[in-house]
Amino acid sequence: MNKGPVRSLAVIGLAKNVGKTTVLCGLAEREAAVGRSLGILSIGVDGEEWDVWSLKPKPVVMIPPGCLVATAASLLDERGGDWELVESTPFYSPLGRVTLARARRRTRIKLAGVTRTEEVREVIARLLAQGAERVLVDGAYDRRAAASPWVTDAAVCVAGAVMAHSLDGVMEKMEEAIRLITLPEAKDPLLRSAAEAARVGGRVVGIRKGRLETLPFTSLLLADRVRSMWTAGEWEGLALPGSLTDRGLELLASAANRPPAVVLTDPTRSFVSLTALRRFYRKGGTLSYLKGVRLAAVAVNPVSPDGYAFDPEEMKERAARICAPVPVFDAIRDQAEVLDGINQCLSGG
């Protein structure tokens, strides 16, 4: 896991309408206030006037002067005088070619999303090359990829009241997400080798009798083939190149043998529930990652756009207990110093 200064930071919402853009703008504003040059881009299905999931108008992002953005050229034209266009990329959003631009004054913009992970990596690199000291990636709800440690150095997760109708419900969901994101990196060299081989080769890699064996499938979706292979030998470890779901975990746990040590390339590939994972651990299995996400902070928003709210102090306190030692903040209620503290941590390592 990256422990040095954070050059790219993903802001990801744990659900729709949790207030991700508010957090992003808050972080950007404080970065600009201390004179750090920023780059901002979005990943996902953005680019429409309306949010495709909630059908609510998409929020604009407030951009401080000097800040770089990557978005569709047509969106920059809406306030053309506010921008210095610096570079065209070969990538396209639904609204046209993604272009890098620097704000000439304080302005606002809609971010048209870059859709593919490798494109995000490339755009981040270009923003850094254009002088951004840190790049903030606005990760759409359906695109965990923004937080992938192969894409960004660290992530801020945003949890909001909209996630459940009770504070207990929100905390439960938040805990589940945070626990899964912060599971440890694999330490065993053999397990790490298996995970690396799975990542590079795109095939499931097993460990049996201390040796790596590349298996003839890419995921656990082909349950019958996996089961027959599984019961045929005693596997100590299993590295998956793709995602893991509850069904996959149950499949591995249902065999008579002891469940294996499972390793995924990174936390964005984990789609298991905490309940299923606990059951898996009780049977002797483990889950770890080749590369973990550096969770820089968790932001909480006690107000739901659906018209209800929780006690802000209580929500923040309970979230802090769950997330410790990861700092928790409230982008609306906390004073600027709190965000400055988080930004400072990102710079200092």
Binding site: G26, E29, R30, A73, S74, L76, D77, G80, G81, W83, E84, L85, V86, E87, S88, T99, R102, R104, R105, R106, P302, V303, Y308, A309, F310, D311, P312, A331, I332, R333, D334, Q335, A336, L339
Partner: protein, 541 residues
Amino acid sequence: MDEETRRALRWEEIWSQFSPRTPMGRRKKRSFIPFMPGEEAQWQAHLATQEQLLKAKQTLPEAVPHLEHHLSRLSDPTDAIGRLQQGATLTVSDWFQVKTFLWHGWKLCSLIVEIAPRFPLSYGVKAWESVLRRLNPDPVLTPSFSLAASFDSRLQKWQQILEEAEHQVREKKEQAAGDVEQVFPLQRNREGEWVVDRQAPHLAALLADPRLETVRKTPFEVVFRPAPTPEVKEACRRRSEAADRLEAVEEEVLRHLADRFRPQTRFLSGAVEEVARFDLYWAQMRMAERWNGTRPGPDRRAFRIRGGVHPFTARSLEEKGRSFTAVDIEVRQGVTGIIGPNMGGKTVALTTVGLIASLGQYGFLVPARTCSMPLVNWITGVIGDGQDVQAGLSTFGAEVKRIAEVLQRPSAGLLLIDEPGRGTHPLEGAALSASLTSYLAERRNWSLQVTHFSEVLEVSGIQVYRVAGLSDLPAETAEGDWERMLEERMDYRLLPWSGESIPRDALSIAGMLGIPPAILKEARNRLSRSAEKTEHKGVGG
């Protein structure tokens, strides 16, 4: 060249790897046509330019990454040019696209002048720079574009007025909020709002105070912001007015820019064409680099190829650990035949000649040690299984139909035929093949055909090559890698044939491929009996 010929020559593989870097280069590639008879001078000049680029690339390799960087970053301003010509104004991003083209085109032009000074350019570095400066009013040239103050002094004026107005708004708002915070124990958050707990003792007073307005209420808190004072309202009005004026000036600047730049569209169109032309040259040169290409010279009489290679066939063989035997051949007007054992590389030689001729005609440096060739009106291959199921034609039917079509062509071209007449009764096939050869021998076409029929060799006026063939025949029952075994014993070279007897190797090869000895023995007996009975049959297996 028709689709079947392209398929037989693996032309699509060549074409898909021929990759110009720029959008205009890719567009020009779609209308890329071969040189035709009568264009020999242009053809040779085109090839000479590629040779020059190849040499320049080898002489100044350090400049190449820069040149390719600028090529890959060139944007296509064609749409913007069209709109300018129609009298439209352009947006900031349109102008950025035009400037990106000019910036990278200028850099590219400088590099071309440096590494290939003889490359024919319509516009010099100064012409590019002069047009670029129209979008870059500041003395220092940069690749970015904005409505900089240098375009129009009013931009700066209204920008300053707007900034001052914004400052006034902030100050008036600060003053209004400060008044409230002097009375109540409040501190604004990052959004400039006061979040007040429902239990706060001063909540009722806050709710009643006209200097505050409520943003939202929750069961736990009420969020306030300062109500706009008359001073704040006036400052906001001034800010809005300044923003409107600035926007109006920006629109005017964009209009004037379009009017001033419109005369440059002729340069831009020419520059787009020039970039596309260079891009194609460069892409052709990069292709030729893969096969160490050589310049085909003009030759009105014959295709003369020494050390010819089919790059894709050569690569396929290399992947199997085998090597390609270069083709040496001369194909004159009339008929040239190739005879030899099965699996002796006759069809490979045929397709190699076809590919080299096609590449040459499209202005590529060709994969051969030396080459001279005529420009022809067409190149057609009748090669491989040409069954036309849709037309209800068998292999023989499809082949004959294609040959019939070729014979009707009034102009001369290169005709490549693989074993004509093989798909029907041997007697009839041989007769047809020989008479076709006799007919073609009198024509102006350059016909190259592979045959097994001895009747064909009896036609006067044709020249024939034979595959050197097998030496040291292995035991027919030998086990192992038959491909390797065959290759080790097969001499794939083409040698001029002057009537000497040709060894028959088909049965030996069949043995190597696993046909049982008993069957081979019976085949040999039949062959002997047949030879005694009839004067007929083939050569070379």
